[in-house]
């Protein structure tokens, strides 16, 4: 049951602002699309840029991206007043609306991602179709479109398609997530949101969240499967994560500095908000523990040449901190923007309910679901190089 939760407030806020419109679900949504984009970037480093170093994690990253992508619509559906009318945005898209264009972009991208996975796993699926029986065999036969052609010619086609999809997928994934940043950055009604840098900031923080996720999942998977971690791959991911993290922190700091420096009308309430309710969430959690600390840890490990278990532990901790920090960034943007009233004379406080379709329990379920899906997909389509029969490359 959803009760109406009017937000506590200080100062003056418009009477219609008393209920925060975009909730926890809308903070989770860009987080998920961010993971999609970031994981896809990891996989593209091998599939598009041909970096051998990332081969061990490449297909796993694809599945991670796909699992998250399949659940991206869920928080939106849970938020909509009329989810059954959601397809109106595709039947009669209003071309000036970023949301409408997203519908097509997302549809295009999910097909692209599914296709890329299809090509990446096709040879393995053909082999599994041959070696399984019963329902599973039917499944694999269907998924390979009843073709068992793994000739050199066929595999060459697969390679070409995979490359093309990976290349197209990069702007695809980043457009998918960048548009979310555009939604916020293009709104003139809220100064906390309206910034030209917003899409860029979103994209880069998405990349680091996806990379961090791939690192964490790779480490977990290796432990579960009791397989030795490919250190070159892990280190490669650490380096890229570290580099992107510094750039992301720079962008986020620049955006904030820009806002403060311009000091436009309403800056007083923004500063009151930043110094008050937002201080811990932004400076301590997002920037401090979530950005500076992992940068320091990874940087320190690289500088001292840390190896082995210590490196894995340090990297995993850093990655978890990054994941937390990126979620905090989404929260601080989405919820934070709404906590500053449009009157620029008041502040509200968003307290998410526990129950209800937009509550904390539902939010946890939405966050857990992609990983359950990932587990299922890795069972059906094991991405590990050591288990592959026939690989496109």
């Amino acid at each position: 049951m959803e009760g109406l939760l009017t937000a506590p407030y200080t100062g003056y806020v418009y009477p219609n602002e008393m209920v925060i419109p975009w909730t926890l679900m809308i903070a989770i949504y860009p987080y998920l699309t961010g993971l999609v984009a970031g994981a896809f970037t990891v996989s593209s480093m091998h599939h598009a840029f041909g970096m051998e170093r990332f081969k061990p994690v490449a297909r796993f990253a694809l599945l991670t991206s796909l699992s998250c992508m399949l659940f991206v619509p869920l928080p939106l559906i849970l938020h909509l007043g009329h989810p059954e009318r959601a397809f109106n945005a595709m039947i009669t898209p209003h071309l000036s609306s970023a949301f409408a264009m997203f519908g097509f972009f997302a549809a295009f991208y999910v097909v692209l991602l599914a296709l890329e996975c299809w090509f990446a796993f096709r040879a393995d699926n053909v082999a599994r179709a041959r070696s399984s029986t019963g329902l599973l065999r039917t499944f694999y036969r269907a998924i390979t479109l009843w073709s068992d052609d793994v000739s050199t010619n066929a595999l060459a086609y697969d390679r070409k398609w995979l490359l093309a999809l990976a290349i197209i997928g990069i702007p695809g994934a980043h457009g998918l997530h960048g548009y979310v940043g555009f939604v916020y950055g293009s709104l003139k009604s809220r100064e906390w949101w309206g910034s030209d840098m917003m899409p860029v900031v979103f994209i880069f923080s998405a990349i680091i969240s996806g990379m961090a996720l791939c690192i964490v999942l790779y480490v977990i998977a290796a432990n579960v499967r009791r397989i030795k971690i490919d250190f070159a791959c892990l280190k490669g991911m650490a380096y890229t994560l570290w580099g992107f993290m510094m750039f992301t922190l720079l962008l986020e700091a620049l955006e904030f500095a820009n806002l403060v420096y311009k000091g436009k009308e309403g800056i007083e309430i923004i500063m009151e908000y930043v110094r008050g309710p937002l201080f811990v969430r932004l400076f301590v959690v997002q920037f401090g523990f979530g950005a500076l600390l992992p940068i320091a840890i990874i940087g320190g490990m690289i500088a001292r040449g840390t190896r082995g278990k210590a490196f894995i532990v340090g990297l995993t901790i850093s990655s978890l901190l990054v994941l937390m920090s990126v979620f905090m960034m989404r929260w601080n943007v989405v919820i934070g923007g709404q906590e500053i009233s449009k009157t620029m004379k008041g502040l509200l406080t968003y307290i998410p309910p526990l129950y209800g379709r937009q509550g904390i329990i539902a939010g946890c379920a939405v966050m857990v679901a992609p990983f359950l899906m990932l587990w299922l997909l890795t069972r059906l389509f094991p991405p590990w190089g050591d288990m592959s029969q026939e690989e496109p490359q």
């Binding site: 397809f87 595709m90 039947i91 009669t92 209003h94 071309l95 097909v111 296709l115 299809w118 096709r122 390979t144 479109l145 009843w146 073709s147 052609d149 000739s151 010619n153 066929a154 086609y157 398609w161």
Partner: protein, 255 residues
């Protein structure tokens, strides 16, 4: 061309065609009629039933009241402001007559910083005399022609009370002390004590009778919200002076 590529392409093409077909099936026929919206929506939105009907609607049955209202100071306050939207009235029964006028009238007339000076405003607990706050406006005011002292154009000075000024006092040849004493009496009884439209005419009455009346109101023997309030703080000497003053005025009510 490997078989799986061909099948894949055909699958994608079939999906596209299916999607377009579904879209055309689901598209509302009036959509895109005038722009990027459903044309029928405008017709639906224009179709609702008004709830407020306006004074002309009321006049059809309440002509006399309507005339009184258009001539009075409340002619800019339409009927439904106080009585609520007419909706299906009279079919659905009578409209409410506001009973708590302290609550209703003070919405506009409570003295409040921010209200333009042109708006008649009162301090509730002091109008027309200090009281406990439960004195209903209807006690003295006709809501359809609320200005006390007759109909017609509201004077530029919007004060509800007709004060006894130094001029009128001089004319009546009464002392400054009596000017103060008779201030609360004038709005209802008239400056000359002869107004009988709202209350008893005082002028020319027996002095002893006036004294007795004032004493009874002061003690609560006689009950009248305004009279009880105005007499509460009168001393015996005040009562004697007031009674003598009104007894001495040329008598007979003017209304």
């Amino acid at each position: 061309m490997p078989a799986h590529i061909v099948r894949l392409v055909l699958l994608l093409a079939a999906f596209m065609i299916l999607a377009v077909a579904a879209r055309n099936y689901m598209l509302d026929p009036s959509y895109y009629q005038f722009g990027n919206y459903r044309g029928d929506a405008v017709i639906e939105l224009a179709a609702g039933d008004p709830q407020f009907r306006g004074p002309a609607y009321c006049r059809a049955c309440h002509a006399e009241r309507h005339t009184e209202w258009t001539a009075g100071a409340h002619r800019s306050v339409k009927c439904e402001v106080c009585h609520g939207p007419a909706r299906e009235h009279p079919a659905a029964g009578p409209l409410p007559k506001p009973d708590d006028t302290v609550k209703l009238c003070t919405l506009c007339h409570e003295a409040m910083p921010g209200r333009p000076a042109a708006q008649p405003q009162i301090v509730i607990a002091e109008h027309p005399v200090p009281h406990d706050g439960a004195l209903q406006c209807l006690t003295c005011h006709n809501p359809h022609a609320p200005k006390i002292g007759g109909q017609g154009e509201p004077a530029a000075d919007q004060s509800a009370a007709t004060p006894v000024t130094a001029e009128t006092a001089a004319t009546a040849q009464i002392s400054a002390r009596l000017v103060v004493l008779t201030t609360p009496c004038a709005p209802c009884h008239g400056a000359d004590g002869r107004n009988a439209s709202m209350s008893a005419a005082l002028a020319g009455n027996q002095r002893a009778a006036l004294v007795r009346k004032l004493q009874d109101y002061r003690s609560g023997t006689l009950q009248h919200p305004v009279m009880n309030a105005v007499t509460k703080s009168l001393s015996d000497e005040d009562i004697a002076d007031l009674a003598e003053h009104y007894a001495s005025l040329p008598g007979g009510p003017t209304q």
